[in-house]
Amino acid sequence: MGLVLMIAAPVIFYFLINGAIKNISATGTKDINKPIPWVVIISIFTPISVGLGIFGYYAFKGEYDQLPKSSEEI
């Protein structure tokens, strides 16, 4: 699962960029045709997809196999 998530992170990023390139259009009237939503979404999703990759890495390394039993372990 960890490996899948590590691969998913750059794939999501690629689809976002690709989606922006394909859909931004001067003649379109929908939100998906405007650049601003894409700029906002890509800027917020970039750290999220990095986070997904890091989460996948931690899961791959087995760091979630044993969760902390109390906050003192955090």
Binding site: L5, G19, N23, D31, I36, V40, L67
Partner: protein, 518 residues
């Protein structure tokens, strides 16, 4: 804390403020059409840009940022003063939006002011929830934490309920023109906010600081840098990521699809009448909301994990059948075609010629007609068609070209079908209550007291604001890319809910942490 005495008052004061914040946040979205006419007129590139920013930046960028700003403050200064501040900011900006003159009166300042106030609203919302949930949880006894915090969970849904109700009440008591005028009825829900917020501030001022936070402060154990400890410390950052991807991400899309996408789908895709689509949602919410408490309480008995995961899985499995039923039962085009084949009669309730224009040449006339039909299955529908009559002045045989693609909207369902739709919406609200009811207790138990506000606020607002808020955008994106399937947009919430459920199943712990004092 083992005492439950006085917890009712704590829940009431915390929930009331949070409900008002949600009310404030929703009325802007629900009155978006009127607001855009007043402040963001069409055909002006600058106002279009500001409008898009107001919609996207407030929800996606500013909410998580607000979670960081106010989460940090809450862990440094205390829960009480921080969520008092968010309430003032939210209520004040909502009230002020209702006072801004229109674009016609003050030009570009109108949309600029609206944008600024909308961003403050997003910021305040980002800080409110974590404070209220933490505050209640830190008062609640361990064996009833799920139940007590589930009251906070009802506020997002009740806020939607109240805002819908207030708008419908105002709208039903005046004409459309009076409601949509520059200083018309659409402003009343904004003005009402100041009264609600005033009452809530008065009540909240009388509240004491959370006992756990007070104790930490007394012992000098509060965090000096909550952001660094929450996200810079690997062991805690790991839990933030787990909360986001294993729970809140899936919960966010279930919440948004059940409460918002459903209503938008009923109105814009199934083409139901404005009032009836809202009535269906209101019933669904009213009958479903008590289940937040049911699942919150149940999570105290059997743990939080499996209830949340079941809610996500049920959503992922049932969304397509539910939305497909909405489409099938309101498919007038199919019904009219069937009726033509069987020869069953239509019944015309009313027919109005909206306009009759002479077009292109003197011997052609296009007539736009609104006809209200009562179909044999008792669905009332408005047919909007433009037929063209040619040669009518020439003494030749006139030719009537009938509109081949009339638009059907304003559908009013008969009672049996309406209640069937209420039941389906209710089912989706039940999935919301399962995924959302226990989540405050789950998040509170995941993080230490000294950085709890910061650590739980960010994943919560990314899950709900970003993953949930993106449902309509991604649904449009998918429907443009794959035009054959009208339900293709649902693959986004289904996919995210499934992924989150799988991550949750694999990595979350079902154990209830009885000690949140650490």
């Amino acid at each position: 804390m083992s005492e439950t005495k006085g917890i009712g008052k704590i829940i009431f004061t915390s929930s009331l403020g949070t409900l008002i914040e949600w009310y404030d946040f929703y009325i802007f979205g629900m009155l978006a059409k009127t607001i855009s006419i007043q402040f963001f007129p069409e055909g002006n590139e600058t106002t279009a840009l500001l409008s898009t920013l107001a919609i996207f930046a407030a929800g996606f960028l500013v909410r998580p940022f607000g979670a960081l700003v106010f989460g940090r403050l809450g862990d440094l200064m205390g829960r009480k003063s921080t969520f008092l501040l968010t309430l003032v900011l939210m209520g004040g900006s909502t009230f002020l939006i209702g006072l801004i003159p229109s674009y016609a009166s003050i030009g570009i300042f109108a949309p600029l002011l609206v944008l600024l106030l909308r961003l403050i609203q997003g910021l305040a919302l980002g800080g409110e929830y974590g404070g209220a949930a933490t505050y209640v949880a830190e008062y609640a006894p361990a064996n009833r934490r799920g139940y007590f915090t589930s009251w906070i969970q009802t506020t997002a849904t009740l806020g939607l309920f109240v805002s819908l109700g207030v708008i419908m009440l105002v709208k039903s008591n005046m004409s459309d023109a009076a409601f949509n005028a520059e200083w018309g009825g659409w402003r009343y829900p904004f003005w009402m906010s100041i009264v609600l917020v005033g009452v809530s501030i008065y009540i909240r001022l009388k509240m004491a600081e959370s006992p756990l936070f007070s104790q930490l402060k007394k012992e000098g154990k509060t965090s000096t840098n909550p952001l660094k400890e929450s996200f810079g410390k690997r062991s805690n950052f790991k839990m933030v990521l787990l909360a986001l991807f294993g729970a809140v991400m899936g919960q966010g899309v279930i919440w948004y699809t059940g409460q918002f996408y459903a209503q938008s789908f009923l109105e814009n895709t199934a083409k139901l009448d404005f009032m009836q689509s809202r009535e269906i949602l209101l019933w669904g919410i009213a009958l479903g909301t008590p289940f937040f408490l049911v699942f919150g309480a149940l999570s105290d008995k059997i743990g939080r994990k499996w209830i949340m995961i079941l809610g996500m899985l049920l959503g992922a499995i049932c969304y397509r059948p539910i939305f497909s039923t909405f489409l099938k039962d309101t498919n007038i085009e199919q019904m009219t075609s069937d009726i033509h084949k069987t020869g069953s009669p239509f019944y015309v309730v009313s027919s109005t010629v909206v306009k009759a224009d002479t077009i292109s040449s003197a011997n052609s006339i296009a007539t736009t007609t609104k006809t209200c039909w009562m179909l044999p299955n008792n669905i009332q529908v408005v047919e909007n068609r433009t037929d063209t009559l040619t040669n009518y002045k020439m003494g030749l045989s006139a030719v009537l070209k009938k509109d081949s693609k009339p638009i059907f909207n304003g559908k009013i369902l008969p009672n049996d079908l309406k209640w069937k739709f209420v039941f389906l919406v209710w089912c989706m609200i039940i999935f919301v209550t399962m995924a959302y009811g226990p989540i405050a207790a789950f998040l509170v138990e995941l993080f230490p007291t000294k950085i709890r506000y910061t650590s739980m606020s960010l994943p919560y607002h990314i899950g709900n604001g970003v993953f949930g808020g993106l449902v309509p955008f991604i649904a449009t994106l998918l429907s443009v890319s794959f035009t054959n399937d009208p339900l293709v947009g649902l693959w986004y919430p289904i996919g995210i809910a499934l992924l989150s459920a799988i991550i949750g199943m694999l990595f979350l712990n079902n154990k209830i942490d009885t000690n949140v004092n650490d």
